[in-house]
Amino acid sequence: MARFRVEGECALIPEVMSFEPSDAALVARCRAGDHAAWNELVERFSRYVYAISVQVFRLPHHDAEDIFQEVFARAYQQLDKLRDDEAIRPWLGQLTRRLCIDRLRAAAREAPVEDLEPAGTDDTLAELDEAFAVHEALRSVPEHCREVLDRFFCRDESYATIGAALDLPAGTIASRISRCLARLRDLLEGKKTAASAV
């Protein structure tokens, strides 16, 4: 049975069943010095942190890279201070936002701008939160679905490229994307499809 998240714009997105550790479990393992857990934590939130600096604040590549490393360095140092382990994502989001603003503020001393935060910041952040929830749902679909959807939508690969990588005809890729999208939609809407074949 799907449960529902209880924060912000994602409140209506079902928290789908997943065999992977929860955010809180991952944080606890990181705190205990589990390096594999740290690798997974970085992997899980890397796109979100990257998207905030590049899509919301439109930082140039080298600044975005600095922020990215600073966010995870601080996260690693301050994991003990996190009051709610399940809140790691909003915590990382706020940290990224604050560091991006600091970076823009430093740049503005040299070339003043009217407003440090680009217009529509809150809307874009809300959109990224929603995107993150959908991306998290990907963890609950079968690996072959996850891979084809990630390659096509997130990595912007063509049918031909995906087909070559997976050794499948391009036409099969198109139909698989369609079926996997429907499966992901059902999952997001709380319908139980995990056991059925795609």
């Binding site: 209506l12 997105i13 010095g33 390096h35 594999a36 740290w38 690798n39 970085v42 992997e43 890397s46 796109r47 979100y48 942190v49 990257y50 998207a51 899509q55 890279e65 990215f68 490393q69 995870f72 360095a73 690693y76 959109e127 990224l128 929603e130 995107a131 993150f132 959908v134 991306h135 990907l138 959807l149 990630d150 939508f153 997130c154 990595r155 912007d156 369609s178 999208l181 429907a182 992901l184 939609r185 997001l188 809407e189 709380g190």
Partner: protein, 85 residues
């Protein structure tokens, strides 16, 4: 509960919003905890000292022990990745 929060088009749009971060950035962030194990010094030495690099490639765990460094599995894995040609 709403009947249909998402259609496939919307899901596709949302998936597109989160492309992967550059692989090197992710790798560097994952290596952060290894700093306390002397990872950066070992990598720098391997880049500057051909003989040391050769010893590391030949037998990573043994070379680390010779240096008085405990071959922590995470350290070994990260070094092995960095030493790839």
């Amino acid at each position: 509960m709403p009947v249909s929060l998402y259609d496939e088009t919307r899901i596709g749009e949302l998936l597109r919003r989160l492309p992967p971060a550059p692989e090197g950035w992710v790798r560097a962030a994952q290596e952060l905890p290894l700093a306390r194990l002397g990872f950066d010094d070992l990598v720098r030495r391997a880049e500057e000292d051909t003989e040391f690099r050769r010893r590391l490639i030949a037998d990573l765990e043994a070379a680390l022990r010779e240096e008085g460094v405990e071959p922590d599995p995470a350290l070994v894995e990260a070094l092995r990745y960095r030493l790839q040609p």
